[in-house]
Amino acid sequence: MPNLKDRLREGLEFLSPSNVGKYIQESQIYRSIFRVGVPDSDRKRMLVMLGSVFLHLHPVKVRKSGIRMRYTWCMGGITFFLFLVLTFTGLLLMFYYRPTLEYAYVDIIDLREQVPLGIMREIHRWGAHAMVISVWLHMYRVFMTGSYKPPREFNWNVGVILLVLTLLLSFTGYLLPWDQLAIWAITVGSGMARATPFLGHEGPGAALLTLGDIPLVSNTSDARFALLGGRFVGEAALLRFYVLHCVGLPLVAGFLMAIHFWRIRRDGGISGPV
């Protein structure tokens, strides 16, 4: 009959971190999730890159010059990470936020005062600002290394559209808190659309588009009206911006990012001198 001390020692040995780690890694559950196991050999390090949905965004091997922070400033990756953070925090905000004139503003106040760990709004807002800056810097880097040159012309163009989408996402999100800052910034910004040539009621050429005496482009049928769903920034605009911000634009942006990343691989990985 082993005494208590020996049993205790056995138990403790069994519970030591390395043993528990090994036990977990050998369990059927773990092996079913991570097929390769711990990447402790070069072979496994390659297999792990091929086996995971997330990691297979990257190739198995990369050119050493391409992974230098000095070269890419990590800006594309930072932009992507910020997009993921925004999607996650945006989703949490959607639990609380209702896009109506009655609730929008009070919901934003409640986000700070009632909701536990109430910094989701902060992370979302500062993340959005940071993403605008990082996408500008990413474009700056790609220009300075001449990485838009063949064969990467098309991916530069995908990038330009992503830049526009980032600005639109930020613009549509700006309205949602429904305070003075929000509606007047959107009023100024969307006011430009009334001056669209031919399509805005205060744009050059719009006066030419008439059907007999009836003007075709008026303040209830022009580009700005289409954008806001009204003659001013009101309830319809809030709903429109909300739907675009939370569903439409993120979907399009996510889709284009998939193309962007795919093309980086197809174009021969991160650029470098030949």
Binding site: S65, G146, Y174, T187, V188, M192, G203
Partner: protein, 359 residues
């Protein structure tokens, strides 16, 4: 102290700021090995940091810089010059290596392939962790702004667009909304997308260099640094009520008046030069403006093709050449109009307000 503040206020005037920044950019591109050194960077960035810290003692400065939404732009004020310096320093180094017949910095490592796990995956992981910590720290320290509930009948003064559009709002000083708010933004997008198809220079693909791409880089940097980033900064920090200019240490006085009487080109010519009245027919009235605009967009490309841009015309071919020159002229129209405004108070080159057609 007051003297220094007044001097900085004076330097921040859009005219002076834009001219100085452009001059600095072009001189630095002329002598990159003098400007983009470690020492220059140490001096410039510690100078900027000192300026920011000392200026915080000024109440008006503190008010505008510490507005929550402006904090990221203060960050940008450092990040953009930093990366400009950084990429130019790499370029200068590479240019020197090329001149010495040595391989580029990047080239030393292009042949070598490394395993993505761990070399890249770990860098990314660290980057994400750092960024998460920064975001959380920032969010704990600085609450997101929320003002009074929306009130459609009380418009604040100044009413500003979101900060990244303030460059466009700044253009409204010089151009009407149909140009500043619609045509130019579209041309910026088109212009950016056109870059890879216009720039046929095969050199400088995949590494930092200045010598091999001097022309492209100069144009892009002028557009990006001066006409984009600087205008955003100007619109954020230096434009107050009624979109008047306010120096960084100036109180945002609602009643600051800028007595400016801007004059149209048509009035300059018909009334002041020819001593006649303005013709009633707008097309005749604006005839000189139309001629100027047509000459600008049609004659200049043709003349340049035969003279200083001959090499572009020959290497690019007609289609690329004309796209490039049109985009360049469109881009140049902003600084040109700025200068005309500053020197002659010129309002419109073509002004037909009856049809909202003002240029």
């Amino acid at each position: 102290m007051e003297f220094i503040k007044d001097f900085i206020n004076f330097l921040s005037d859009p005219k002076i700021l834009i001219v100085l920044a452009s001059a600095l950019l072009f001189v630095s591109l002329r002598y990159p090995h003098k400007f983009y050194t470690d020492r220059a960077a140490a001096i410039v960035f510690s100078g900027m940091a000192l300026f920011l810290v000392l200026s915080m003692f000024d109440a008006d400065f503190r008010l505008i810089v510490s507005k929550p939404d402006n904090v990221p732009i203060v960050g940008m004020l450092f990040l953009v010059p930093f990366f400009t310096w950084f990429s130019m320093r790499e370029a200068v180094r590479n240019d020197k290596r090329l001149a010495d017949g040595k391989p580029l910095t990047e080239q030393e490592e292009t042949a070598e392939k490394v395993l993505t796990w761990p070399d890249l995956v770990y860098t990314e992981l660290i980057c994400m962790v750092v960024l998460t910590v920064v975001l959380i720290g920032w969010s704990l320290l600085l609450p997101a702004p929320i003002e009074e509930p929306a009130n459609p009948s009380a418009s604040p003064n100044p009413s500003k667009a979101p900060w990244y559009f303030l460059g466009l709002q700044e253009m409204l000083v010089y151009f009407d909304p149909w140009l500043a708010g619609v045509v130019f933004p579209s041309l910026i997008i088109v212009g950016l997308m056109a870059i890879p198809y216009i720039d046929t220079n095969p050199k400088g693909n995949g590494y930092y260099t200045l010598k091999e791409r001097k022309w492209e880089i100069s144009v892009f940097l002028f557009g990006f640094l001066v006409l984009w980033i600087l205008l955003v900064i100007l619109g954020t920090f230096l434009r107050g009520p009624n979109w008047s200019f306010f120096g960084p240490y100036e109180y945002w006085d609602l009643h600051k008046l800028e007595a400016l009487v801007n004059v149209n080109l048509s009035e300059y010519i018909w009334v002041k030069a020819l001593g006649m009245g303005l013709p009633g027919n707008p097309l005749i009235r604006e005839i000189f403006g139309f001629i100027a605009i047509l000459a600008y967009f049609l004659a200049i490309p043709a003349v340049l093709a035969k003279t200083s841009f001959k090499r572009f015309y020959n290497t690019l071919g007609a289609a690329r050449y004309h796209t490039m020159v049109f985009l360049l002229l469109a881009m140049a129209s902003l600084p040109i109009k700025m200068v005309l405004r500053w020197l002659f108070n010129l309002k419109y080159i073509v002004g037909i307000p009856e049809y909202f057609f003002n240029i």
